[in-house]
């Protein structure tokens, strides 16, 4: 199914949900204020559903809003987002019956930063970006240029193994398969692991020296749902408010440990980072550790216990004296 067919169906479904009173709110995407971008749309009004869109730029993980909305919600969710929703259900943050998931089988999203880098042009200079299966056509000054889609997709989309929503009430479109022949450009986990310990530490020290502790990564993360984060505690004050690298590093490392088993590798933290810190090299590593140790992937089963609540009588003993 093409994007505009999916979009048409989404608008209908959303309108019906509001009209029939099945949900109080719809959370989806609408056209953003900057070229190509989209922005979240939260609405109670059935006429607004005509503004809902589906295109390769629907980047936000909307499940982050769910814990803040009271009442039944119809939410547009891509593969990774739907798993974030399930993860919130597992943690009892939301009830399954309060959510109508309108799932979108996600063929991957286009990273505008990559497009700009690829063409050395600002997004405002570009005419159109259209995706056709595994190719993308970008028009500049009326001339179309053709690239493999893998050149412009987000890294986490290239690495995504579960593009179709796991849990949904309405599936908009046919289930889709992971992108084949993928190459990750930015997560340098393997390279990092091959370097000596001091170099790894120095790498992160350098990266977190840039961090301005804006907390965008935390605020955009659906797994970071604490009412009060440890960084804001004053007794004891775990880290100082000034963005020193030590405290920046502690913040991010502990954030990663706290969201272990909830992080679905949606890549939002890295996308929103204004300092371009390769946060997915942390989150993705944690995702892999969790999978390796406990064969657990976040948000796959709404009835499963959360990772750090569940246990087996014997497991992961080898490091304990």
């Amino acid at each position: 199914m093409k994007n505009n067919e999916i979009q048409q169906r989404l608008r209908q479904e959303a309108k019906t949900l509001l009209e029939q009173g099945q949900v109080e709110y719809i959370v989806g995407y609408e056209t953003g204020s900057l070229k190509f971008t989209t922005t979240p749309l939260l609405t109670k009004n059935k006429d607004d559903t005509d503004r809902l869109i589906v295109n390769p730029f629907i980047v936000n993980n909307l499940s982050v809003y769910l814990t803040e909305i009271k009442g039944k919600v119809g939410i547009v969710a891509k593969g990774c987002d739907s798993r974030s929703v399930v993860s919130l259900i597992q943690d009892n943050k939301i009830a399954r019956e309060d959510i109508v998931i309108m799932g979108i089988p996600c063929p991957g999203l286009i990273d505008l930063k990559k497009v700009e880098l690829l063409l050395s042009k600002d997004r405002d200079e570009l005419g159109n970006i259209t995706r056709d299966e595994d190719r993308v056509v970008i028009t500049i000054d009326g001339k179309g240029r053709d690239f493999p889609i893998t050149e412009v997709l987000f890294d986490n989309c290239l690495e995504c193994q579960i593009p179709t929503p796991q849990e949904y009430d309405i599936l908009l479109g046919e289930p889709t398969t992971p992108i084949s022949g993928n190459v990750s450009k930015r997560t340098n986990i393997k390279e990092l692991e091959a370097t000596p310990r001091e170099e790894r530490w120095n790498f992160w020290k350098e990266e977190f020296s840039r961090c301005i502790r804006c907390y965008a990564c935390r605020n955009v993360c659906p797994a970071c749902f604490c009412q009060r984060c440890f960084v804001e505690e004053s007794e004891p004050q775990w880290i100082l408010p000034t963005p020193k690298w030590q405290d920046n590093l502690i913040f991010q490392v502990i954030r990663n440990i706290h969201v272990a088993g909830r992080c679905t590798d949606c890549g939002e933290c890295e996308r929103v980072c204004p300092m371009n810190i390769p946060l997915r090299s942390l989150t993705r590593k944690m995702y892999e550790i969790v999978d390796e140790l406990f064969q657990y992937k976040a948000g796959m089963d709404k009835n499963a216990l959360p990772l750090l609540t569940a246990y087996e009588p014997t497991e992961a003993e080898d490091f304990i004296r």
Binding site: I250, V253, R321
Partner: protein, 142 residues
């Protein structure tokens, strides 16, 4: 970096109130010898230990952290140590990945009757910590 002469590692222990703390107590009562490098914080359960405590201890200059609790199946609160185990497992792997020596993060099961084991654990951990550098991880105050 050269270790300064007579340098002794500083170890912080989080001991569970029901087993390991009593085990440490028994080690003392039984006059077991073990290095005086450990400072102890008593916690209600090993499950109380947030990985934040561990990295904060390293930030404050401790060379290593030991989390010790009841054996699996013996937890006073039924499941606290199972949860601690999962948490410690991911913490250890993750901190190693970002570049913290694995020797700095230690865990053990010590029951209330194992004064001897407690002494052994502290001895072994202290020995391991002496083999790696003094904790300079967070020292660069730039």
């Amino acid at each position: 970096m050269k270790q300064e002469l007579g340098w002794e590692p500083k170890l912080l222990g989080f001991l569970c109130r029901w087993c390991s703390y009593a085990g440490a107590d028994l080690a003392g009562i039984s006059r077991k010898k073990y290095p005086a490098n450990i400072e102890v914080i008593r916690v209600p359960c090993s499950g109380r230990v947030d990985p934040l405590f561990i990295i904060k201890a390293l930030r404050l200059g401790f060379d290593g952290v030991l989390v010790s609790g009841c054996y699996p199946g013996d937890c006073h609160y039924q499941t606290g140590n199972y949860r601690a185990r999962r948490r410690m497992a991911i913490t250890k792997k993750f901190l190693e990945y970002i570049g913290i020596e694995p020797q700095r993060i230690q865990a053990s099961w010590v029951s209330a009757s194992e004064g001897g084991k407690f002494a052994e654990v502290v001895t072994a951990v202290t020995k391991e910590l002496k083999e790696i550098e003094h904790n300079q991880l967070f020292a660069d105050e730039k």
